[in-house]
C-alpha cells in the first residue's frame, strides 16, 4: 500500500518514472480487459493508450478508497465503452424472448478451452452483446446499471445478454464436441 501511495504521488507530480512504473505494473491485466471489450488487437491498444492517458490525468482524483487496480480498471472499461459508443454499437434492440433457449450446464463449461479461444469467442459476439456480456458476466453489474452506462433500456440489456449467452454456449458446445472427437 505504501508502495502504491508512493507510486500515485509520483504520478501526481508527473514523474515519468513513476508513470512508467504504474503502467508496467498494470498494463498486462488492463490490456486483457481492453481486449475483451474491443473487436481486435489494434482497437484494444487504442483503448489502452487512451485509458492510461486518462489515468495519469485523473490520478489526482484517486482517494485510496479502493485498490488502485480496480480504479484503473473502471477507467479502462469507461474508455472501452466510450470507444464503442463512438461506433454506435448499441443500435440493435432485440427482445429477450428471442433468446430464451436453455442449454444444460454440462455442455457449456469453459474449462479446458484456451484463454485466447475464449477471447475470440467473446470478440465474435455482436458489439452490443459483447459489452453487455462483459459487464454482466465478468464485471458483475446489474442490467439497470448497464442500461444507464450504455444508454440502452434494461430490457435491451437483458436481451443482449441472453443473446450473448446463447451464442457463447453454442460456440462452447461446438468446441467441446470438436475436442471430444
Amino acid at each position: 500500500m505504501k508502495d502504491e501511495r508512493t507510486l500515485v504521488e509520483g504520478c501526481r507530480n508527473k514523474d515519468r518514472i513513476s508513470q512508467r512504473t504504474l503502467y508496467e505494473r498494470f498494463a498486462g491485466r488492463m490490456f486483457a480487459v481492453c481486449q475483451r471489450y474491443t473487436r481486435n488487437r489494434f482497437d484494444a491498444e487504442d483503448v489502452l493508450q487512451d485509458a492510461f492517458v486518462k489515468v495519469f490525468s485523473q490520478i489526482h482524483t484517486f482517494r485510496y478508497d479502493c485498490p488502485l487496480e480496480a480504479w484503473i480498471k473502471r477507467i479502462m472499461i469507461n474508455t472501452a465503452i466510450s470507444h464503442l459508443r463512438k461506433e454506435k454499437a448499441y443500435l440493435d434492440q432485440a427482445d429477450v424472448e428471442d433468446y430464451a433457449e436453455v442449454v444444460s450446464e454440462a455442455e457449456t463449461t469453459v474449462s479446458g478451452i484456451e484463454y485466447q479461444h475464449l477471447l475470440s469467442m467473446v470478440r465474435e459476439l455482436p458489439p452490443g452483446c459483447q459489452s453487455v456480456f462483459n459487464l454482466y458476466a465478468i464485471e458483475g453489474y446489474q442490467h439497470n446499471e448497464i442500461s444507464e452506462l450504455l444508454g440502452i433500456s434494461e430490457g435491451t440489456s437483458k436481451s443482449q445478454y441472453a443473446r450473448a449467452k446463447q451464442l457463447l454456449q453454442a460456440k462452447i458446445l461446438e468446441t467441446n464436441n470438436t475436442n471430444s472427437t
Binding site: 504521488e9 509520483g10 507530480n13 508527473k14 515519468r16 518514472i17 512508467r20 503502467y23 498494463a27 498486462g28 490490456f31 486483457a32 480487459v33 481486449q35 475483451r36 491498444e45 489502452l48 493508450q49 492510461f52 492517458v53 495519469f56 490525468s57 485523473q58 482517494r63 478508497d65 479502493c66 485498490p67 487496480e69 480496480a70 480498471k73 473502471r74 477507467i75 469507461n78 465503452i81 436453455v102 442449454v103 444444460s104 450446464e105 457449456t108 469453459v110 474449462s111 484463454y115 475464449l118 477471447l119 458476466a137 465478468i138 464485471e139 458483475g140 453489474y141 439497470n144 446499471e145 448497464i146 442500461s147 444507464e148 452506462l149 444508454g151 440502452i152 433500456s153 435491451t156 454456449q169
Partner: protein, 521 residues
C-alpha cells in the same frame, strides 16, 4: 437454465478471464508518453493580461533591487575624498603634514537578502487563471454522474447528444459542478464508499453547466432527475466492497471522454532555496596607475626609484571559491528569477616589483605603495618634496609575485532560461544577470613578505561595485523536492572596484564551476 446454473455460467467465464494478462506492445507506452509530453507542452492558457500582471511585479522587484544598488553606489561615491599626496612621514628625517580625509560613515547599503521580494509577488496567476476542466477536485465533486436519461415515454436515448458533448464552459464549470454535486450529495445520503468509488470525468455535467446560472429543477428529466434516480438506485443497494476484480463493483454513471476538450492547467509557481559551493578562478585585474593620481604617483615614484613602479597590470588567477545561498522562483516553464547571497574568496597573484623604500626604510612592492597612496587612513609620502633629491633615492628593484586576495559578499540577481525544459529529470538553464559586490577585505603580501590587510573606512575600494554575470546550469531532479545543480559561471566587473582617484584600479574577473543542492517548496 436455472439461476444457479446461470450463476455457474457466469462464474466459469469470470474465472477464465480473472487472471488474464497479456503484455501490450512497447509502442503503446511510447504513444502514451508522447501524448503526456504533448499535454505538458500545452502552455497554460493564461491570458496575456494576466502574464503582464505577473511580470509587472517581477519588473517592479527587479527595478527596486537595481535602484537600491545604484543608490548605494552613488552614495558611496559621494563620500570619496580626494587623496592628497603631499604629506610627510613623521620620522626623524621628514617633517610632514598629514591630511586625513574626513571620516565618513560607511555608506549603508541596503540590499535585499534572499527571496523575500520575489516571494511576495501576489499570486495573481492562480487567482485569475482559467479554471481547470479536470473535474472534480474535491471529494464532494466526485459525486455521481448520470450517463443516460430516460424520457417519460420510456424509450431510451443517449443522455448527451453530440452537440451537448461539445458544449463547454470551462471557467464556470467547476463551481457549478461542485454546487450540483454537493446538492446531489445532500439529497441522497450514500455511504462514503459509494461516493468515493466514482471516477471523475472531464465533461461531467457540461450540459448542466451550460444552462442558466441557477441549477436546473429536479423535475428536469434530462438533467438532475436522472442522476438522482441513478444515485437512488445505487443507494438502495448494499454497496459492494471493492476487494478484488472478481467481485461486483459498484458502478457509477460516467460521461464519455471528450477528446476535443482543452485541458487547461493552472500555472503553479515553484520557489526554491539552494546551497552550493563554487571553486573558481579569480583574477583581480589590478592595474596600477590608470588614473590621474595614479599616473602622478607613478611619475613621482620614478623619481626616487628608477626601476620601480612601472605601471604593472599583470595578474594571474589563483584558486578561489564562493559559498552560495540562493533562492528563486520559477515564473514559467522556461523562466526563473533568482537571487541570493554569496561569499567570495577571490585569490589572485599580482606580478609586481619590490624595491627598498628609503622613506619607510623597508621593502615595498608597487602594489603596496599604490594601496598606501590611495588609502586615506595611511600616511602619505610627499613625493613632490622629496622627489627632487635623487640622492635620497636608492633602489634595488626585484620582481615579486604578490598574493592578492579579496573577500566579497555578493548578491546576484539573475534570470534563468530553460534551454532544455524541466519536465523530466534533467534540464539545462542559461543564466544572466548582475551581481552586487560588497567589499569586505583585501589582503596582499607586502614587500617585507608580511600581509597587508585593507578594510574599513577610508580604504581605496568601493563598498559596492557591480559585475555582470552569465552562466549555464544543469539541473537533475532527484525527486519532487530535491534537485542537484551543476553550474558554470562567469563574472566580469562593470567598472573598477576601487574608488575614483586611487592610484590603482581593479577589474576582477571570475570563472567558476559550482555544485549545489536545491530544495523546492
Amino acid at each position: 437454465m436455472t439461476s444457479s446454473e446461470e450463476h455457474n455460467f457466469e462464474n466459469n467465464w469470470r474465472k477464465a478471464f480473472d487472471n488474464a494478462d497479456e503484455a501490450p506492445p512497447l509502442s503503446v507506452w511510447e504513444r502514451i508518453e508522447a501524448r503526456l509530453d504533448e499535454e505538458e507542452d500545452r502552455v497554460a492558457i493564461i491570458p496575456l493580461w494576466q502574464q503582464w500582471q505577473t511580470l509587472k511585479w517581477v519588473a517592479a522587484a527587479g527595478v527596486t533591487i537595481l535602484l537600491i544598488s545604484l543608490g548605494g553606489w552613488w552614495f558611496s561615491n559621494q563620500n570619496d575624498v580626494k587623496t592628497h599626496l603631499a604629506t610627510k612621514v613623521s620620522n626623524e628625517k621628514l617633517s610632514s603634514k598629514i591630511k586625513v580625509r574626513e571620516r565618513t560613515s560607511t555608506p549603508k547599503i541596503e540590499v535585499p537578502v534572499e527571496t523575500s521580494e520575489i516571494q511576495s509577488f501576489p499570486n495573481q496567476g492562480h487567482n485569475e487563471s482559467v479554471a481547470s476542466v479536470k473535474l472534480p477536485q474535491s471529494a464532494d465533486v466526485d459525486a455521481t454522474r448520470s450517463v443516460s436519461a430516460k424520457n417519460k415515454s420510456g424509450s431510451s436515448k443517449p443522455r448527451l447528444t453530440k452537440s451537448d458533448e461539445h458544449k463547454t464552459d470551462f471557467p464556470a464549470l467547476s463551481k457549478e459542478e461542485i454546487w450540483i454535486a454537493e446538492k446531489q450529495k445532500n439529497k441522497i445520503e450514500l455511504p462514503a464508499t459509494s461516493l468515493s468509488a466514482v471516477v471523475a470525468e472531464e465533461t461531467a455535467i457540461s450540459s448542466l453547466s451550460n444552462s442558466n446560472s441557477t441549477l436546473p429543477a429536479v423535475s428536469d428529466p434530462i438533467t438532475l432527475s436522472t442522476p438522482v434516480l441513478a444515485l437512488s438506485s445505487l443507494a438502495s443497494k448494499e454497496m459492494r466492497e471493492l476487494i478484488g476484480l472478481s467481485k461486483r463493483q459498484p458502478w457509477v454513471a460516467y460521461q464519455p471522454i471528450q477528446s476535443e476538450q482543452k485541458v487547461q492547467k493552472t500555472a503553479t509557481k515553484e520557489y526554491w532555496a539552494s546551497v552550493g559551493v563554487m571553486p573558481a578562478s579569480y583574477n583581480a585585474g589590478v592595474v596600477i596607475g590608470g588614473s590621474k593620481s595614479g599616473l602622478a604617483y607613478n611619475t613621482a615614484n620614478q623619481n626616487f626609484s628608477t626601476n620601480t613602479a612601472q605601471a604593472s597590470s599583470t595578474n594571474r588567477p589563483s584558486f578561489s571559491y564562493a559559498l552560495q545561498w540562493q533562492g528563486g522562483v520559477q515564473l514559467a516553464q522556461r523562466w526563473s528569477l533568482e537571487t541570493g547571497l554569496n561569499y567570495l574568496q577571490g585569490n589572485s597573484v599580482f606580478e609586481g616589483t619590490n624595491g627598498f623604500n628609503v622613506f619607510s626604510n623597508s621593502y615595498v612592492n608597487n602594489l603596496e605603495a599604490a594601496v598606501n597612496v590611495s588609502d586615506n587612513s595611511k600616511q602619505r609620502y610627499d613625493f613632490a618634496a622629496i622627489g627632487a633629491d635623487k640622492s635620497q633615492v636608492q633602489s634595488l628593484a626585484t620582481s615579486q609575485n604578490i598574493n592578492n586576495s579579496y573577500q566579497f559578499l555578493q548578491i546576484p540577481v539573475q534570470a534563468g532560461y530553460a534551454v532544455v525544459k524541466p519536465k523530466r529529470k534533467l534540464s539545462l538553464w542559461l543564466l544572466a544577470g548582475f551581481i552586487n559586490n560588497i567589499f569586505l577585505r583585501n589582503s596582499f603580501q607586502s614587500g617585507q613578505e608580511s600581509t597587508v590587510t585593507v578594510s574599513g573606512a577610508g580604504n581605496p575600494y568601493r563598498t559596492l561595485s557591480f559585475s555582470a554575470g552569465a552562466g549555464m546550469r544543469v539541473q537533475y531532479k532527484m525527486n519532487k523536492r530535491w534537485t542537484t545543480l551543476l553550474s558554470g559561471n562567469f563574472q566580469q566587473a562593470l567598472g573598477s572596484a576601487t574608488r575614483s582617484g586611487t592610484a590603482f584600479e581593479a577589474h576582477p574577473q571570475l570563472l567558476g564551476v559550482g555544485a549545489g543542492l536545491r530544495y523546492g517548496f
